[in-house]
Symmetry: D2
Subunit: 340 residues, 4 copies
């Protein structure tokens, strides 16, 4: 940490900072400049964070110079991690395709979507039984009935299932069915939920908040990790910007940036970021090429009747093109399509 | 709703839209233009929303032309509402000052802060016992012990209390102490929490999500209202933009815009939006002048030792200036400082 | 400036930074921490900026700790400046109302709008003869004919005129008519234009770019100031964010922030930021209350036939309310309405 | 266009809209709903845009339903265009690599960078002689001397040159040396400059404004096209968002979106969007995979001494990896590396 003093800070102000830092067990290195003085702090940054150095007289700024997360940081864990979901790896070396319907509606629709997903090369099945919806008047999901449908389709197809949990008190229920728990973009800072999924012993997919910085996303992962669960997969799904041609702006750079800061796998959701079917395949290609460890995609046997996000679901023709993409593109970037 | 057809849509595509809309009990008015055709829909918009018209062949765009919220809408409730918190009104005609410490730390600190708040003209006491924090390593609040301190200070000062709840399953506990429940910016789309606070019979202060549009904010209020609770106060607290000189960008226009769309009172949090003590008084003046129904402000007897957001808390000198502002400015905009 | 070394930087990397800095005539203070080393630089920051320290081995980050502008900085010029436009002051102590039509259309319309402006309390007349328009198919302004109309209306009303210049090569022409040159939001980083208006000896109103940080805005002012012209007034006019209920988001906090960083006057444009007539008066009140040195407002005798931005122009009834606001509100914040 | 009437609009208000529209030679189709009436307009949209329908009594909203650009629109020109720069194609079927130094500094540095570019597979040379800089204290480019160096390097290497022009009055000078004129992000709405480059008969590369929507970008291209020049290449280079880990956020979705709206080629600048060398190769791969018609990349023989944007320039090792990428990746998406 660096404390920047104002141009008119007095010697006593500088000494006060030094005293406070040393009182907290740290060291303070004072660099006196022509116009202003800066003080470099060495020691326990968490501790310094509680000192309210900002509030001391003569202090203009306090600049943090190391990352605030630990367990998920790559600094302390240089090798990139592999997370296994029911035997399917997500991590370096592979490119994992997760696909399925946005929402579970009926057993038939779910099974058909799972077959489409498999035809495309997917080894994990996505599908929502609990849906967070902006409007209280929109379809909220089938709840436990949806989870049972997913379990039946898993039995039929052999695909492990990834499904969302939206309330801390449903975590045990959802975990009793799911192979991987998804925390959605609107819940990325629902800290009670993060802690609950951290304690239940299942892999977690943590979507980036649509307004969250990469650093805040990693701090949210740290909440999960703190409960002893490091099987976390980060999922970039677009951020909110001024551009309205797409539902959100896919932050493709976030993939290599997060992979450099954290050892956790990073995947991309090209369906929800664009919100348009015609963008799903181009964005999938961009995601694989940039080095994502996987992609998660909406497919639906009959999108015009979908209860949720129909306009962005892939249909049959697209599935053939997707299959070709996930077969041909990963080898160009040194990866192979993940299998169970 | 208006359905816009693409330039190359065929007559059969147009008829397909008409058929779907009429099948759902609506009426469809077709306007054929030189370059493209548009279809105006009349009937139940909620119903149309489930039709996935986007997915039909030849459809370019579906434009909603009425607001998606009902209970909180001013269209259906032209008079602006007054919400009473322990006898203190928040609404048109008055300007209510809510003040107190960001976090409850000790009985002494809380009482001192409450006395500062009263000296400034506040009639409601704010103070957090449960704190949502970006970092799992930061102070998370005193929990129920903090609620008891707040209750004691209420007994001592007579000020009703406003305090945050961060988990749906703490709602009953917090409601058993609080006069008003606060839902924070990170929880604006925690739908389980919104429904829980909607069902507990206490007034609710709903902070705008830092990434939420005004429409999404009103939809979140609709979740609360749906449970039968219309005692909701909206609180603008800054949105996330590219500007980094302030912690968030106070969206001052959101006050008149939300007041025009909704009958609910709208207040402003100048402390958290700016994140800087030197901005609190100017932003408070802006908020009162723009027509806010109240402001909520951090005060702390000793900000340099605050466990949370010390840099933005007002101190003694500021309190005197704040007292003068809330006395002199409201009458210029046709309001009086609210009293119990 | 502070150079932050990576955790695995070697002693040789640290020495390389020191050598480069000392070679440029600076001093380098090394603070070795447990995890990483930081190096504080003292000397000529401009000079350090050219050293490409980022590119040296082992360097993680280079943090600037002082502001990059000089002539417009308040650090070097603690008293806030007053800019005089044809005898009308803009600066501390006063609140200056600038009003008029968005675009000059006819002599009658311009004169009528000027009379409306005067009735509201305005002492400066705004009006555009050269209009920057997003669409090449939109009305681009009357050009020199518009300037002559403005000059005639000035002769008739006695109001000095503020008008926009959009091309460096029109600066002399526009300056031969205008009392103050306006640089618009789309041209805030048109450096050729900034330098041209800096050299022509007339006061300049510099609108903030809708995507510009406050720091970039002050750097743009520095371009003007470098040519010897310090008669610059900064104008906040809204920034681009995700919120679409208003055309732009008025960054009301930018007023006190810019006034703290720079000695230049700061005014607000409530008409263009909101883009809606119903927001102009509330935002005008917010601007005055937050401490703006002035406001600039669109008025039009007949907005439904305006060739530019009609929806946001004030009409007769509003003008009476505006007159009351600019008379009653400034004294509450220690200012008086500016007169010639 | 669709005019949405307010819930309390009267029959006379509706008739007034119809009358105005018909008076302008259009047709108005009225759809009366239970809650509100909408009016579909058919005819000349440009004409309707000047009617100020927003300002009529009872009008809530005016919704545009067709794109506002014509010459660059794909609606009127379904085949995607190829732009040729000194014999090198940019367009569908090929992937064109443009590379070179951010700024021209010396003949040696420029020639060395050109050789690096060629080694990577580049067939066009980029290099700036006129640099727009945020700070007036930063290096502004060598001007005409830089253009002469570029011409010499072209003679030596055979690579056509792409270089930026920042002032309308330098357009003829720059065009006398350059094979393609670049308009930078800060000048995307410098309309005088757009018109000047439109009239000089050389291909134009138009960078997206960092705050510009895709629609505004295409409107800027329309300004150039209006002067008779349709040899325009669009360049996505990142937009400004809240995320600070990268200099800007590369909007990778903008490539397929712009290609669908316009027939013009779309390329990507991975160097300036990320602002970090370690992101250039991943983002280049993403750009090619998403379907960009080209990429433009900074290379520098000696980045630590670069006068401009050194931290993002590729060096020797990267160049080998880049060569492999531009050879292996385009065929996967049905393209070949462009040659002269």
């Amino acid at each position: 940490m660096v404390v920047v003093m104002s141009a008119d800070a007095e010697e006593a102000d500088i000494q006060a900072v030094v005293t406070v830092v040393e009182g907290a067990g740290g060291e303070a290195f004072v660099s006196r400049g022509v116009n202003r003085t800066i003080i470099g702090l060495v020691g326990d940054v968490e501790q310094f964070g509680t000192l309210n150095l900002h509030a001391l007289r003569g202090v203009t700024d306090v600049v943090r110079i190391s990352v605030p997360f630990k367990l998920v940081s790559r600094e302390n864990h240089p090798d990139r991690s592999v997370v296994r979901v029911g035997g399917v790896p997500i991590g370096p070396g592979t490119m994992t395709l997760i696909a399925g319907p946005c929402a579970v509606e009926t057993p038939e629709q779910t099974l058909q979507a799972a077959r489409m997903a498999q035809a495309a090369g997917a080894t994990l099945l996505r599908g929502g039984a609990f849906k967070p919806r902006t409007s209280p008047y929109a379809f909220q999901g089938l709840g436990e009935k949806g989870l049972r449908i997913l379990a039946d389709v898993r039995a039929e197809t052999g695909m492990p299932i990834v499904t969302e949990v939206v309330d801390a008190h449903d975590v045990e229920l959802v975990a009793s069915y799911a192979d991987m728990l998804q925390v959605g973009t609107r819940n990325m800072q629902n800290f009670a939920l993060l802690q609950a999924v951290g304690g239940v012993g299942k892999p977690v997919m943590l979507k980036r908040g649509m307004n969250a910085t990469i650093e805040e996303w990693l701090m949210a992962a740290e909440y999960v990790a703190q409960r002893g669960n490091l099987d976390i997969v980060l999922c970039e799904r677009g951020i909110r910007t001024f551009e309205k041609a797409t539902r959100n702006t896919l932050d493709i750079s976030a993939v290599p940036v997060a992979q450099r800061l954290s050892h956790l796998p990073v995947i991309v959701d090209p369906s929800h970021s664009g919100g348009r079917r015609d963008l799903v395949l181009p964005l999938t290609r961009a995601a694989i090429a940039v080095g994502a460890d996987g992609v998660i995609i909406d497919v639906h046997p009959n999108p015009e009747s979908a209860l949720c996000d129909g306009p962005q679901a892939l249909v049959d023709d697209d599935v053939r093109e997707l299959a070709q993409t996930v077969r041909d593109l990963p080898p160009i970037v040194g990866r192979t399509l993940a299998t169970a």
